[in-house]
Amino acid sequence: MLLLLLQFLQLSFILPMAMQTVYLKKHEGNAHNFVGTLSSAASAPWWSAFGSQSVHQGESCGQMKPFALELPNCIDQLAATKLSARGAEQVLGEGHTTQFTIFPDGCKMSDDAQKLQTTISLQSSLTDPHSRFEIGFSQPMLCAKYPYTDQFYGLFSAYAPQISGRIMLPLNMSSDDGPIYVNAKQYHGIIRRRQSRAKAVLDHKLTKRCKPYMHESRHLHAMRRPRGSGGRFLNTRSSINGNGKLGNEVHKTVGEQLQSSDSQSSEFLQSEVGTLNSSKETNGSSPNISGSEVTSMYSRGGLDSFSLNHLGSAVHSFANMIDGGRGMIIPPKWVAAAGNCYNLKV
């Protein structure tokens, strides 16, 4: 458990430094982090120094406060971190003196002169020859991160708590893609909104709309209205003569429904429009149908299509409905309506 939190701390500690370098270096930083975690179990000084620095950085940013509270032991080592930083600076100052004596060994490990000097100075002060031999390959990469640490720390003090106006969101709240950097001004607002949404979900206040209607009383009224053959309402004012007018009326009804219904009903309505088009194609000229306004969309869609088509084309349009709905579950009312249609024809 503690090792996992420490890994999170190290990941958050290294990635801001990685922003200073090239993309390839970023991958190297991640690999280094993994190796560093494994090597920290072997040697205590590396582990304590590394953890302390990450906590110190967290407090400076203000974004790692939850982790800082969860790890009170590391906070006590902040003084040790400062002492080790000063020690590193002193050793860097003495680099010219010690470089000459250890030159033969350093030549084998690093290529750049800067890395050479840094590697020699850090190795001579922090590790014994015996432990250096044990760590082996991971040693230069681990040492190479410290000059970036110094540069980063200097940059940090220059720009106060914000790094070019960006703050990293906590890892446990963000997505698995990795750390997300946001505008510093919006950080607290985003955290507050996340808590509000989480609270709404926990209280089960946010429920998806599952009713095909918005108002209960209007639904009851529509159910009580008398319906004619095909399921349309009786006693409506509009009557249609030709196919052109029928098309206009259908579009008008569709438009009105789109105004009032939500996304789920709209999706259902589009499949219904396809059904009406297919019914027009099968029948050359449709009989005289009176236009009507339907509140309950399920009953209209089911009954209207089946009454207009033959038995074979009814099956075809039914398949079209399923394809148009893209695997939508047919509501029980629709199935009952279909059953009623079959009974009527028999």
């Binding site: 505008n183 001004k185 919006q186 607002g189 985003i190 507050r192 909104r193 509000s196 709404a200 206040k205 946010l206 429920t207 998806k208 709309r209 918005m214 108002h215 209960e216 009383s217 209007r218 789109l258 105004q259 009032s260 939500d262 996304s263 709209s266 999706e267 589009q270």
Partner: protein
Amino acid sequence: MMDNVGGSSSNIAENSGIIREQDRLLPIANVGKIMKQILPPNAKISKESKETMQECVSEFISFVTSEASEKCRKERRKTVNGDDICWALGSLGFDDYAEPLRRYLQRYREQELDRANNPPKRG
């Protein structure tokens, strides 16, 4: 759309304490109209685009309103007014939007004053 005035008691009890989707999001038709204003006349907008924009604009409204509400809470005021919204936009880094909104708010208040001083004639 107005609420159900003559609804039964069970209907009122059923809806209390529940945030329905149509209360959480803006109406999708209004969002589509606003999106259509900026596009050429023959452009078409898919329903998925409208739904995505519905989520985005609704969350943005909650985001800005939450910032303004926090300011009112600190100052122990109960009403969030237009100035608080303009301040919230500025404090969140949307300075380019805060200034046009402040001008809009000023002209809106002038219109309200004119309407109050010169009520429309009836009869």
